[in-house]
Symmetry: C2
Subunit: 501 residues, 2 copies
């Protein structure tokens, strides 16, 4: 009995333990569920934990920045149109493979989209590769087009100096088989026109040719296989001194010290027609076929640029290399020159604001039969220009308007909301830019103040007496002058008074 | 001896086998390496295997499509400016968490970027959430702005009907604490102005209010927790018949058949002021606080719309629900009406071309203290409008110009490239839109033909005699008339002759 009881007790203990275990499991499950729900709630309802910012290297454009941006775009677009360019647009992302193998060492900076099923996509890195893809896809052999759009690079941003991860490029390109250097010269003319028009201060446009660089590398004793990587090193000369570039060539890239020193002599050369003539006589370079071709075209280019009257700002510069892989001929880069500026305490930031060149092989990379479409183009780096214009505006006293409103529809007394709505509707329908305060009974003073703040030049005031008389009181904000205008003449009167604005 | 030999032979066999195995391993490794290299080469050098296309659901805009797009934008932007809006822009991607919990069931359509280290990012899904983030981040409590930019949705594209994965939205929003329904009425006025201006044919703007919907759900016996999901079902009424929506409510969403039937009675109602008055007398609805509030505001809205003279195109429609979670008050949607069209064989596609509403809680979701900024806004769905304009243009005989070039600089004889370059440079510098052919010695006929093809109205012809006489021959392409113009008067003459264009 005692034994049986003991066994029964033990069995009971086991049963209970099992039950406890089951309960504990059940509880653990419930807890896990609750935690999961909490986590979900946390993301749905976590409004107080948000980091309120734009992604790294990006920024919003508020109304003021947009006003500046539109000014710069206007100058650029009107130049592109002056030169007879059409406009195109492409998607912000491309198939990943479209971008592969086009950018050399810079490919690591491409933004990829997450694989959510379907195609693998990347954000565009520039506008040139999408343009080449567009030409090949549509079998276009002949076009002059511009394209203004944002491009994306996972670079280290330096936003105060206008370097962002999302930034605009303004590209102008001429595609087609043409007589040498005529389109190339036009691209340089365009850079000259835009930089002059934007009044960014003094600038110089450096010009070189990939063929001259390649010829130079050959006669200096650089092995063929090292042309591109040595070219990348030369490209750094605008940021670091020759000594550093030389030690990269010799130390990291295994170039012989003698070859590096020979390069060093060439890359310090810059000048104009005289330098071209000198190099055409150079005992080594003149023996190199591609270099000679490049120098011959450079001479032709300078002749055309002199007909355009812009050689004063052009410098043939053997240190200019440009990073991207796809260039095949003329390359160029516009640089703003540091200047004393009386209005600013800090000096304006300087650097490259435009660049481009000839890329005759890129379209062929997209064509099944490798058919080439020669191209030359320029890209205006607008963010740096925005930065300069913003800094300048901040330093000046100029007040920039962010709307174009011509007239505020106001009321002198209470209970005139309906009359204001009727009048403003008439003005809108007549094409007048008009605003009103969204209050039933705004004070006249507040309405006038709003005009002062926002730069609205006119106020159309409705009052009981005016309604009876069939007139509207038109107030000129700047002079505080007030005139009664017959209602049927109001639109015309507003047009006349704002036509100079 | 024999045994020893056998053992030695066996050992040798083992050794050989081991060596073979090792060799095989080595070979396998080498093969793997080679395959890997081949794969890498395949991506770098696989130019002949490219799929030449834009990503699914996206398209390029060529010069013709751009010309149409710019026309539509011009109408829309001039309307937004007429109403005194400022303009802003935000980055194409946001922190992923910024978009989380804003779009309800549609969140699955958001494009995420790949995690390449750093922040988790998503492409913007609309312009409203970035706008709310912008307001909260900059503590702006008061703004009227527009924003025209591309948004991204991983939806099933139907591109012939203008539904893309990358598409433009043109948004106009008014943020701030104002007297009721004045900004809301302006948003509807804007939709009316834009659709009238674009001449897309007859349209109706459906209007409803989330508060009326919620009140209706309450009095029909929908449990509070089911409001949003039943609202999603109602939202489908523009695409599927009531019977289907009802069975979704009852079958999938577990609503009682009686409640569904009561909803069914309400959602077939649409009308104007009369319907509002009728519902204000409705024994059930009039007892519901939020419904009554919504109906009161709806009445006020209609009064303002009648002052704007646009009630003829407005329909108070109880079946309008709008998909997005964030609406809190008035909602609306503009729909083009099917019409007989004499010029087209296929009927124009119809559907929603604009939508919007009031979202008073969204900005507060981004504010650490939950401070609300009431907002109301409208979004113009421009892609569908592009489709219609494109179809219409194709059906018409109108030839659309894709450049604005005023004059082609041409030559009558050979060896005049330099003279053409000099003249075109003068014209560009004077602001004239000018082109020339990029050939050293183009035939006059080819130059004239280029003008015919591209619609350039004037040709400035330099020839030896003209150069001697100090004149340029100006040819009017349309009439073939030719006049000699003194070189110093050429710019003025071109301006006068193209001022009507």
């Amino acid at each position: 009995m005692a034994e049986e009881a003991a066994v029964r007790a033990q069995a009971e203990t086991v049963r209970r333990l099992k039950q406890d275990k089951a309960d504990a499991d059940e509880i653990a499950k419930e807890v896990a569920k609750l935690l999961e729900m909490k986590a979900q709630l946390g993301t749905d309802d976590g409004k107080h934990k948000f980091v309120l910012k734009t992604p790294k290297g990006t920024r919003d454009f508020g109304p003021k920045e947009m006003a500046i941006r539109e000014r710069a775009f206007k100058a650029i677009i009107s130049c592109f149109k002056r030169h007879g360019a059409e406009v195109i647009d492409t998607p912000v992302f491309e198939l990943k493979e479209t971008l592969t193998g086009k950018y050399g060492e810079d490919s690591k900076l491409i933004y990829d989209l997450k694989d959510q099923g379907g195609e693998l996509l990347s954000l565009r890195y520039d506008l040139t590769v999408p343009f080449a893809r567009y030409l090949a896809m549509n079998k276009i052999t002949n076009i002059k087009r511009y394209h203004i759009a944002k491009v994306y690079r996972r670079d280290n941003p330096a936003m105060t100096r206008g370097r962002y991860r999302e930034f605009y490029q303004c590209d102008f390109d001429i595609a087609g088989q043409f007589d040498p250097m005529i389109p190339d010269a036009e691209c340089l003319k365009i850079v000259h026109e835009i930089l002059s028009d934007l009044q960014l201060g003094d600038f110089v446009i450096k010009v070189n040719d990939r063929r001259i660089l390649d010829g130079m590398f050959a006669v200096c004793g650089v092995p063929d296989s090292k042309f591109r990587t040595i070219c990348s090193s030369v490209d750094k000369l605008d940021k670091v001194p020759w000594e550093e570039v030389r030690s990269e060539m010799v130390g990291e890239k295994g170039l012989s010290p003698e070859a590096a020193d020979r390069i060093g002599e060439y890359v310090q050369l810059h000048g104009g027609l005289d330098l071209i003539e000198q190099l055409l006589q150079d005992p080594k370079l003149s023996q190199n076929k591609v270099a000679k071709e490049g120098l011959g075209d450079m001479k032709l280019l300078f002749e055309y640029l002199s007909l355009f009257g812009i050689t004063g700002k052009i410098s043939f510069d053997l240190s200019l290399a440009r990073g991207l892989d796809y260039y095949t001929g003329v390359i160029f880069e516009a640089v703003l020159l540091q200047q004393d500026n009386e209005h600013l305490e800090e000096p304006l930031s300087v650097g490259s604001v435009a660049g481009g060149g000839r890329y005759d092989g890129l379209v062929g990379m997209f064509d099944a039969k490798g058919r080439k479409v020669p191209c030359v183009g320029v890209s205006i780096g607008i963010e740096r220009i925005f930065s300069i214009l913003e800094q300048r505006l901040e330093a000046s006293e100029e007040k920039i308007r962010t709307t174009e409103t011509q007239v505020l529809v106001a009321s002198a007394q209470k209970k005139l909301l309906e009359e204001r709505l009727k009048l403003i509707s008439e003005l809108w329908d007549a094409g007048i830019k008009a605003e009103m305060l969204y209050k039933k009974n705004p004070k006249l003073l507040n309405q006038l103040q709003y005009c002062e703040e926002t730069g609205i030049p006119l106020v159309a005031i409705v009052g009981e007496q005016e309604l009876k008389d069939g007139v509207v009181k038109l107030r000129i904000v700047a002079t505080r002058e007030e005139v009664n205008v017959r209602r049927e003449s109001l639109v015309e009167e507003i047009r006349i008074r704002t036509s100079q604005c």
